[in-house]
Symmetry: C2
Subunit: 201 residues, 2 copies
C-alpha cells in the first residue's frame, strides 16, 4: 500500500468526519420517537427485539405486545421472558389470521391486545414499547388507524415506540419519525430451505 | 360487520392458508444459511442482534465480531455481555474509520478481527455468528472478499451467519441465502433528533 493511497484516504476521511460531526452537532433533540419497520423482507421483528435489548442495556424498561403472531413461541420471546423485571410481554395468541379463519374472533383479540398496548402507552416508566405485527392488524382493519394514532401521540414524551409488519398504513408513516422498508433481495425459502429455529423464529 | 364480509374473509383466508401450507411443506431443507442485511436504512445491526437472542432462546451459542464499530459500547452489547456462556463478543475497537483516519491501522485491526471470525467459523458448537459491519470492512478493502467468502463457505454445515453493513459486495450477495435491503423511508435524524440511547446505540 503506497503512502499516496493512505494520504488520500486520510484526507477523504477527515472531510467525512467534519461533515458527520457537524450533522451530529445539529441533531441535538432528545425525544421519544416512533419507529416503523415495514416491507416484505426479513428483519422487521428481529430489529424491533434487537432494539428492545439495546434499550434494556441502557437500563430502560420495555413493553411488548405481539399482534397476530403468538401461537408459535419464538426464540426471542423464550429468551426475553427470562427477564420479567425488565421486559413485559403480551401475546395476542392464536397465530396468523389465515390459521384461524375467523374474522370476528381476530377483531376481538386485536381489540383486547390494544387495551394492553394502551397500558404501556400510559406508563412513563416504560422507555420503549414494541408493537410487533401491529401493521397487519391495521391492514385487516381489526383496529382503527385513527384511534391507534391518537393513543400513540398521547404517550409520555420520552417513550419510544417500535411498530412492525408489512404494509404500514400511510397515516402511520405520516406521523412516524423513522420508517424503514425491509426489502427482499433474495430469500432462502425460495431455495427450498424451511423456516428454521434461530433464524426465522 | 355483516356475515357476508366475514364469510368472504374466511374463504380468502382458507385459500391463503392452503397456499402457505403447501409452500411450507415444500421448503423442508434444514441447513446453516448466510443472511446479509444491507442498505442505508435502520435495522441492519439491531436485526442481527434480534436474531442472536432468537438463537439463544433455542439454546444455540452465538459468536459476534464487530467490525469498524466498537469505540462506543452499545446498549445491545452491554446487555448481551451479561451472558458470557451463551454469547461471545469480539469488538474491533477504535470506532468508525473516519474517526481514526489511519488506513494502515484500520487494515491491521480488520485482519485481526477476521482471525477471531475464523475461530467462530471453525467451531461447530456455535450455531449463529454475527459479523456486524463486515460489509464496511469489505467496502474499504480492509479485507479481501474472496478470502472472506472461502472462509464462510468452509464453515460447519448447520452454522448460520448474519452479516451487516451498507454496500454489501455483489460477490457476497451472490453466495448468500437471504439478503435484505433496509431502505430509508424517513429518518428522525433529518428532523434534528440526535442519536439516542435505546434506539440508535
Amino acid at each position: 500500500m503506497s503512502d499516496d493511497i493512505n494520504d488520500r484516504h486520510r484526507l477523504r476521511m477527515e472531510r467525512k468526519k467534519a461533515i458527520i460531526d457537524a450533522k451530529i452537532a445539529a441533531a441535538d433533540k432528545q425525544i421519544g420517537i416512533i419507529i416503523v419497520n415495514t416491507g416484505n423482507g426479513k428483519g422487521k421483528s428481529s430489529s424491533a427485539f434487537g432494539m428492545a435489548i439495546r434499550a434494556m442495556g441502557h437500563g430502560m424498561k420495555v413493553g411488548v405486545v405481539q399482534f397476530i403472531k403468538g401461537a408459535l413461541q419464538t426464540g426471542e420471546e423464550r429468551f426475553l421472558r427470562r427477564f420479567p423485571d425488565e421486559i413485559s410481554f403480551h401475546a395476542m395468541g392464536e397465530g396468523y389470521t389465515w390459521e384461524t379463519q375467523n374474522r370476528e374472533r381476530d377483531i376481538a383479540k386485536a381489540q383486547e391486545a390494544w387495551q394492553k398496548a394502551k397500558e404501556f402507552l400510559a406508563d412513563p416508566q416504560i422507555g420503549l414499547v414494541v408493537f410487533d405485527e401491529l401493521n397487519i392488524a391495521l391492514k385487516y382493519k381489526y383496529l382503527d388507524v385513527e384511534a391507534v394514532i391518537n393513543d400513540l401521540l398521547a404517550r409520555p414524551e420520552m417513550q419510544h415506540v417500535v411498530i412492525t409488519g408489512r404494509g404500514a398504513p400511510p397515516e402511520l408513516i405520516e406521523i412516524a419519525d423513522t420508517v424503514t422498508e425491509m426489502n427482499v433481495v433474495k430469500h432462502a425459502f425460495k431455495a427450498g430451505i424451511g423456516a428454521q429455529a434461530g433464524t426465522e423464529w
